[in-house]
Symmetry: C2
Subunit: 191 residues, 2 copies
């Protein structure tokens, strides 16, 4: 059993590659940083982009820093409403990612980049060692509170800079009715 871990319901968002950033916002454009995120070195830009397929679209915030590949993270219900067959995937794994069009103030780009992010836990290397967990492990998590819930298949992500945090997408919040002040606890370190 781990110490309680903060739960964050991560809003749907977009990570851009340097190249796609330039196509959407213009060459040499530097995004305006709005605020730091809970993970060190990660931040939200003021900028948003339109994620669309055919006539339907949703406007999402761009996160930084830039990545080697553009990645769009949606909830299953948003993907379904956009007619996108997005796979449930770990961040960075764009095998089978769905194709959408991104539109910014200076241009459009078609990308095969849409995934549903798998629920995951960030842990520092020290915390992971204490829990005998390695990067990429899968755990079951109990979400604490007045109406406890369990989540299986939660991926562990380890990095010296990580702060503990369970990240889930908004459909999970809807399904499990996660609102208010919440914490999580790792229940089983093996499934």
């Amino acid at each position: 059993m781990s110490r309680p871990i903060p739960v964050e319901i991560i809003p749907s968002h977009v990570h851009l590659s340097h190249e796609d950033h330039a196509k959407l916002f213009g060459p040499g454009h530097a995004g305006t940083i709005s605020h730091a995120l809970s993970q060190h070195g990660q931040y939200a830009y003021e900028e948003t982009v339109e994620v669309s397929k055919l006539k339907r679209s949703i406007t999402l915030r761009v996160l930084g820093p830039e990545r080697t590949q553009t990645q769009v993270e949606l909830t299953p219900s948003e993907a379904a409403l956009l007619d996108l067959k997005a796979p449930l995937a770990k961040s960075g794994d764009l095998t089978g990612a769905a194709e959408c069009t991104l539109k910014g103030p200076k241009g459009k780009v078609k990308v095969k980049a849409v995934i549903i992010p798998k629920p995951h836990i960030h842990l520092s290397d020290v915390e992971a060692k204490q829990l005998q967990l390695v990067n990429g492990a899968t755990v079951r998590v109990e979400i604490l509170g007045e109406h406890p819930a369990e989540l299986a298949g939660v991926v562990v992500r380890v990095h010296p800079t990580y702060r503990p945090g369970l990240h889930v997408h908004g459909d999970i919040a809807r399904e499990y009715w996660l609102t208010g002040v919440l914490h999580a606890r790792i229940r089983d370190t093996h499934e």
Copy 2:
């Protein structure tokens, strides 16, 4: 300035009338209560319904107790993706509400019931009196945290049984990047 108020990002959901409940789940069907919500006497059922327009749909949880009118509460982005022109409205005001089809295990019903819920604050009569606020007042709210945000046009709802809580829909969480442990404070009691 008020004491900090818990912020709840309320997932999209459905309230059913007794009549519509019977049409969707069968006459005499009693929903299974999953858990109590933060407001006394309100609860979430295990049951869900499909909210659809034409070929697109989203599955939402049913809340109880039953109401005099069926009401579907969506985020603006969900409404747009479903092609529903849902008005931003106070709970209970279905003037101009959009039409959708609800589907349950035993039937379907077409309802003019879809709104985008206005952000609102629940206060007990005692708390409202202390803040010199009356039911239906509109306030501006500062969401506290590492990256404070302001919300205008927040409706005050007063009832002796209410617990303090700022209720916002999921698009506001996405727009303001509200994650983790959050509290709010009333900033101006008059706009």
